[in-house]
Symmetry: C2
Subunit: 345 residues, 2 copies
């Protein structure tokens, strides 16, 4: 698999999006977030998405340059109309709104008309960098309903990830949890399909509602479904997925049962520890918790206990040194998308 330097990919993606009509600044933001996701090992939300974004721009599903406006607000809440701009551009704007409104207290900000927001952890990490606690929930609209409710066999929910991050001591590794509320994201099932490999048990059911390990049984036709997270206690993952739908979709005024023209619904909650124990105390106590946790004696078969996100930040260090690997096909699609607008990369 060829590898590329982050700067090169940043340049390619920025130029690609600009060539498809995005204002320079927005093209750059969308490119930065894709490269950052790739650096952290979130390849399915990384640079491989660039050709799809270009395609979506041509089809009018991403509308760079369109204003991001506040449709409704109070001192602590906002409903943000993302105008189908890049999801990264609108999510960054939402983070700004959430941080400003949360200062000294708490805020909740919800999107309308958002495209794909990418790696969810990015937004809570950014909130945590401002010394605020960040929680995030992102749903998928009707077309992305690939996850069955507990006991069901047809998709009624998206992979519906949730994420959180907290402020840490200066210089410490960020602490970021970013988890799908289903057993396996669709992208990973596709990897198994393309590799001709079986899935582990308990990930999907076929169209008849029978357990299957064959990725083709998920894609059909007829289409199967991904199971909610939690194996024999999948009602918990289902319950978390519902919360994501309620905060990311319903709260913004969308009917889950109906097709929508947007892609994701994002809900951000930001909390200022200054309103509670104080930001400095909070950060010190986070480090106390980190130390208490990572020094736990080990379970059989494990070599360490790590905080959420720690592995991702190690991958980032390595990829900064060694470059970002990109599948041949992903690179080919980027080159092809560029060529279609006369851009040579």
């Amino acid at each position: 698999m060829p590898t590329f330097t982050p700067n090169y990919l940043l340049d390619v993606c920025t130029k690609l999006f600009a060539a498809y009509g995005a204002p320079e600044g927005e093209a750059r933001i969308a490119a930065e977030e894709l490269v950052e996701s790739s650096l952290l090992g979130f390849d399915s939300h990384g640079v491989m998405r660039a050709s799809q974004y270009a395609h979506d721009m041509r089809e009018g599903r991403i509308r760079p340059g369109s204003p991001i406006t506040i449709a409704k607000q109070t001192p602590t809440t906002a409903l943000v109309d993302c105008g189908f701009n890049f999801g990264a551009v609108s999510a960054r704007a939402m983070v700004e709104v959430a941080c400003e409104k949360a200062r000294g207290g708490v805020a909740c900000v919800v999107s309308q008309n958002s495209h794909h927001v990418g790696r969810l952890g990015a937004w809570v990490q950014r909130i945590a960098e401002r010394d605020l606690i960040g929680l995030a929930f992102v749903n998928n609209t009707h077309g992305g309903h690939s996850v069955a409710p507990w006991g069901g066999r047809e998709g009624r929910l998206g992979t519906n990830p949730l994420a959180w991050a907290v402020p840490v001591a200066a210089g410490s590794t960020p602490i970021v949890l970013d988890m799908a509320t289903c057993m396996m994201p669709e992208g990973k099932i596709r990897v198994h399909l393309h590799a001709g490999k079986s899935l582990p048990e308990g990930i999907i059911v076929d169209a008849h509602g029978r357990p299957s390990t064959d990725p083709r049984a998920f894609y059909g036709p007829p289409r199967g479904a991904i199971l909610p997270f939690g194996s024999q206690y999948g009602y918990k993952g289902f319950g978390l997925a519902l919360l994501v739908e309620l905060l990311g979709g319903v709260l913004a005024g969308y009917a889950a049962s109906q097709p929508q023209s947007h892609v994701n619904g994002l809900c951000l909650i930001a909390i200022d520890p200054e309103a509670f124990c104080g930001a400095q105390t909070f950060k010190a106590l986070v480090e106390d918790l980190r130390s208490y946790i990572v020094n736990t004696p080990l379970m059989e078969g494990f070599s360490e206990v790590v905080m959420p996100g720690a592995i991702d930040f190690r991958i980032r260090e390595r990829r900064l040194r060694e470059g970002i690997p990109l599948a041949d096909e992903s690179w080919r699609l980027i080159v092809e998308a560029a060529a279609q607008v006369g851009l040579v990369v």
Copy 2:
């Protein structure tokens, strides 16, 4: 197993707590919450706790009559000093504060010096009844650290449940998720111990960090640990348990690694849909989601798809008709506690 009417148990518990020195109103609140938990089938958080509460009152760990005060606040946040009153009394007060501060926006309320808050779902359900979205997180302090972090073999976290509830259409069944972030609450492991039964695989490790199905391997000595929720993806349950610790404990200024004199740390977040799509629209869309979900075609082996909490409310209907079953030993302990203060029940 003998069964009792809810009213009888309410009367017994109220009199018991009053006989141990609680003001009548507070005794009644604590009793109401225990009976309600029992009605809903949450027996481990129900009337069986009454004798323990009496014991804790005698030992000064529960201090009825002590004031519940706001230690620090902003228009949208509060740090509430629960004064070691009954957890039910202080949690009810926290719900009032959260609902008042969230009206028209969002609020976050965190406890200090809280005793056992009981069934977590009770507090989000109460928030939802006021047409607000409720989220709740409750940690266990150091002494209750029975859950290992992912990869560890010693308890560093509590069973750390989280809960949510949303407003529903008038007359509809409440929707309430209340879930532990570990594989199995300690109370259920104790049931297996007393019954001489093996646990399912993947619930606990012994003191050497080896998987075990023997409940004695958890209790020791030497003591084992409960695994975080999620089986092969237990890092997700671990990540959720950490969030609960951060919001319920760290945010209130407590060091997770240190012993504390309180029992639970409660964090409530309340969100007013009126600040977003509007409360009436929100409730209508919740019913759209409910209908979309419960009408999903079934997976093999299932007879229905239900929303979170639906089964609990059916149990409540049945127990209202048929009474609340209580183990002989639980009843004996209540009678004994009553007799110690000259109360005949």
